[in-house]
């Protein structure tokens, strides 16, 4: 599904070769500035029209409400007039869909009607994920999507993402989250892939575990 062959991006990514098949659950680990975001961007651009994309900055439109920020995931499903009317007054059908979706994300309807500028970091992150989920694609690519949530909430959201997508690729900074939830872990540092292993190997194999530790040295 995704394939990079000796891919270079100035000094941020160096000679990356990688292929990810449909159905895989992949976590990217590595120090900040190591190339996780650049790699995700490269993967996202390969088939942007089939990917639910959740960038690190969320891409929220501050003055608009949480509802509208989630609704944006499906702008392509309606004509401009419909979208315009919905901007002025939320329409019944998308409103119901989005209320249900945000209940699963742990957002209450009051937070949906506020402008996102008034929401907390964790709430904003959920709205950002909400927009990606609302795209309703088979593949989810996220850049540290649960970094502002506590471990319990983060786990719930991760499970929600898994439930709704066949293929999931996430950059994470939490090793435990990665090892507990993903089948395949890619370690990336200084623009290079340090290891690309099944989770089992990382737990069992001492050499592989050492590589994981060395990522953050």
């Amino acid at each position: 599904m995704f394939k990079l062959d000796h891919y270079n991006l100035d000094t941020r990514l160096l000679d990356i070769s990688l292929s990810i098949n449909a159905g895989e659950k992949v976590a990217l680990l590595g120090p900040s500035g190591g190339g996780k975001t650049s790699l995700l961007n490269a993967l996202h651009q390969q088939c942007a029209d089939q990917v639910a994309w959740c960038p690190q900055e969320h891409g929220l439109v501050e003055p608009l409400s949480g509802y509208h920020n989630i609704y944006m995931g499906q702008l392509d499903q309606h004509n401009a007039l419909y979208n315009l009317v919905n901007l002025i007054k939320p329409l019944a059908k998308p409103k119901q869909q989005i209320t249900e979706l945000s209940a699963e994300l742990g957002l209450i309807s009051e937070q949906l009607s506020k402008s996102v500028a008034q929401l907390s970091g964790g709430q904003r992150q959920r709205i950002g994920i909400g927009r990606a989920l609302y795209r309703q694609q088979e593949t989810f690519i996220g850049d540290e999507p649960v970094s502002s949530l506590d471990p319990v909430q983060a786990q719930q959201i991760l499970e929600l993402i898994f439930k709704r997508h066949r293929t999931v690729i996430l950059a994470l900074h939490n090793r435990k989250q990665a090892l507990e939830n993903f089948d395949r872990i890619i370690g990336i540092k200084a623009g290079k892939i340090v290891f690309d292993s099944p989770k089992k190997e990382l737990i069992k194999n001492k050499y592989q575990a050492g590589l994981l530790d060395s990522l953050y040295d």
């Binding site: 994309w53 959740c54 960038p55 891409g59 702008l75 990606a132």
Partner: protein
């Protein structure tokens, strides 16, 4: 601060230094003290004209500005959405390149001293300004929201969901600020005879009745300083208040004299073209344009460029000096007295028409480039400092950030610097445009020759020079666009 900001700033500074020996910066021996003393006395003991005259002129000033800005904002927003088109950019650049005063002089030939002249003279250049500013504000917004949308989403939906809402608060605040500018423009239009505050202000100034001039000037300050009470109300939403005012403004407009279509035709087909062209004498046409270009336009261009270059760099220095004194960031609640003082000073600087500054400086320094540079720099510094101060207050700061000078040098200034530079580069064009207004006082910029051409009823020459000044502005605009892209 990025290295390109540094280089740009340095380059402008050096060019300004090189300009100094070429500019006419002689201090003439003048004896201004009598006149200044009378001005000072007028300031201390202002007098006001009859209430009916004052009220009438105030209402006209506001009505022209309000109607013109609303129309221009709507048209400008429309143009901003298609600003990528070269034709739209050239159109906006050409209409805003011509100063309100000269639009006024042009429309006056057709519509006389009427409300139509007053409104169009502001609306047309402002449309060009809005188009450009709105397009730029939209351009500055984050692109990230767009990346999260489905690639198939249509352009209109993208605009209304991502670009416009992000840009909206800035566009509203810019429109408010523009309304203030429009009040100034509307006032200035009185200088060419329209029934606004400026008409009585100029008369009082020319007749040396400084007490009345001061009274009118104070009325004008009060009008601008109280905008936040009469235009924005806590109790009535602006979606109701603005339409209400617009309706009132329509009723308050002075009656317009009858306009005959034939005068428009006569003006467009006959008055604005050189006689030789109407006679079909090609050689004479060529000679005429050559004469106008070499003997009038080029020397005037040179003076305009030198003075505006100096004015711009001086403006930049003054802004960096002025803006912290009015900002909450440096003077929080405890120092509200200092901040209030800073804000009032900026308000006065930006609302006094350059004309008035230039008039006073002409008395002190005599007729050279100095009054023009000082007037332009002080006025524009007041303006940009105000905008920069507002920008500095909108940023988020860590609670543990430094204080005073450290905060200024390490945190605030580097963060507002790109915005500062872009305001200044944008203002460059405006400074050139505003130098036109000073031409009326006899400083030999392009505006001086345009004004004299209108006075001599030589519309052919006036039009030619207006086109030249528009071309100059377009050139400067595209140059400043390139610099900002660095």
């Amino acid at each position: 601060m990025t290295s390109s900001s540094k280089n740009i700033s340095l380059a402008f500074f050096i060019v300004a230094l090189v300009c100094i020996p070429f500019a006419d910066l002689v201090v003439y021996q003048v004896e201004p003290w009598d006149e200044l003393a009378r001005m000072g006395q007028g300031l201390i003991q202002p007098s006001f004209p009859e209430l009916s005259i004052l009220a009438d002129s105030l209402i006209n000033t506001v009505a022209f500005a309000l109607l013109a800005v609303s129309g221009a904002a709507v048209l400008g927003l429309g143009l901003a959405l298609i600003f990528k088109s070269r034709i739209v950019r050239i159109f906006s650049a050409s209409v805003r390149a011509v100063h309100e005063l000269f639009w006024g002089l042009i429309f006056m030939q057709v519509y006389g001293l009427s409300a139509t002249t007053g409104i169009l003279a502001i609306l047309i250049p402002f449309t060009g300004i809005f188009a450009k500013m709105f397009a730029e504000i939209i351009e500055q917004q984050s692109r990230v929201p767009n990346t999260t949308l489905a690639p198939q989403s249509d352009h209109v939906s993208r605009y209304i969901y991502t670009w416009l809402p992000q840009a909206w608060p800035q566009m509203v605040s810019y429109t408010r600020y523009r309304f203030e500018c429009a009040l100034r423009s509307s006032t200035i239009l009185g200088f060419i005879g329209l029934p606004t505050l400026g008409f009585y202000l100029e008369t009082a100034f020319k007749q040396g009745q400084y007490d009345e001039a001061a009274g009118l000037l104070f009325s004008f300050f009060i009008l601008i300083a109280t905008i936040r009470w009469w235009l924005h109300s806590k109790y009535i939403p602006s979606t109701l208040l603005v339409p209400l005012y617009l309706t009132l403004a329509l009723f308050a407009l002075p009656e317009s004299p009858q306009v005959y279509g034939s005068s428009l035709v006569q003006f467009l087909s006959h008055d604005i073209w050189p006689k030789a062209l109407l006679n079909g004498d090609i050689f004479a046409v060529f000679a005429w344009y050559q004469h106008q270009l070499l003997d009038v336009a080029i020397p005037a261009l040179w003076d305009t460029l030198l003075l505006s270059q100096l004015a711009m760099v001086l403006t930049g220095l003054l802004v960096l000096l002025f803006y912290p004194w009015a900002s909450k960031v440096f003077f929080p609640k405890r120092f509200s007295l200092m901040r209030g003082f800073g804000r009032s000073a900026l308000l006065i600087l930006r609302s006094v028409p350059e004309m008035i500054f230039a008039f006073v400086f002409l008395l002190i320094f005599g007729p050279s480039g100095i009054p023009a540079v000082l007037a332009l720099a002080l006025h524009n510094a007041g303006l940009i400092s105000y905008l920069l101060m507002r920008h500095s207050e909108q940023l988020n700061y860590r609670t543990d950030s430094g204080r005073g000078l450290n905060h200024y040098v390490y945190d605030v200034t580097p963060r507002v610097y790109p915005h500062f530079l872009s305001l200044l580069l944008y203002r460059w064009e405006v400074i050139i445009r505003e130098s036109a207004i000073l031409g009326i006082l006899g400083i030999t910029t392009l505006g001086f020759y345009i004004d004299s051409a209108f006075e001599d009823i030589r519309y052919d020459r006036a039009l030619f020079l207006i086109v030249i000044s528009a071309l100059l502005n377009i050139a400067v605009d595209s140059f400043s666009r390139k610099i900002r892209a660095l």
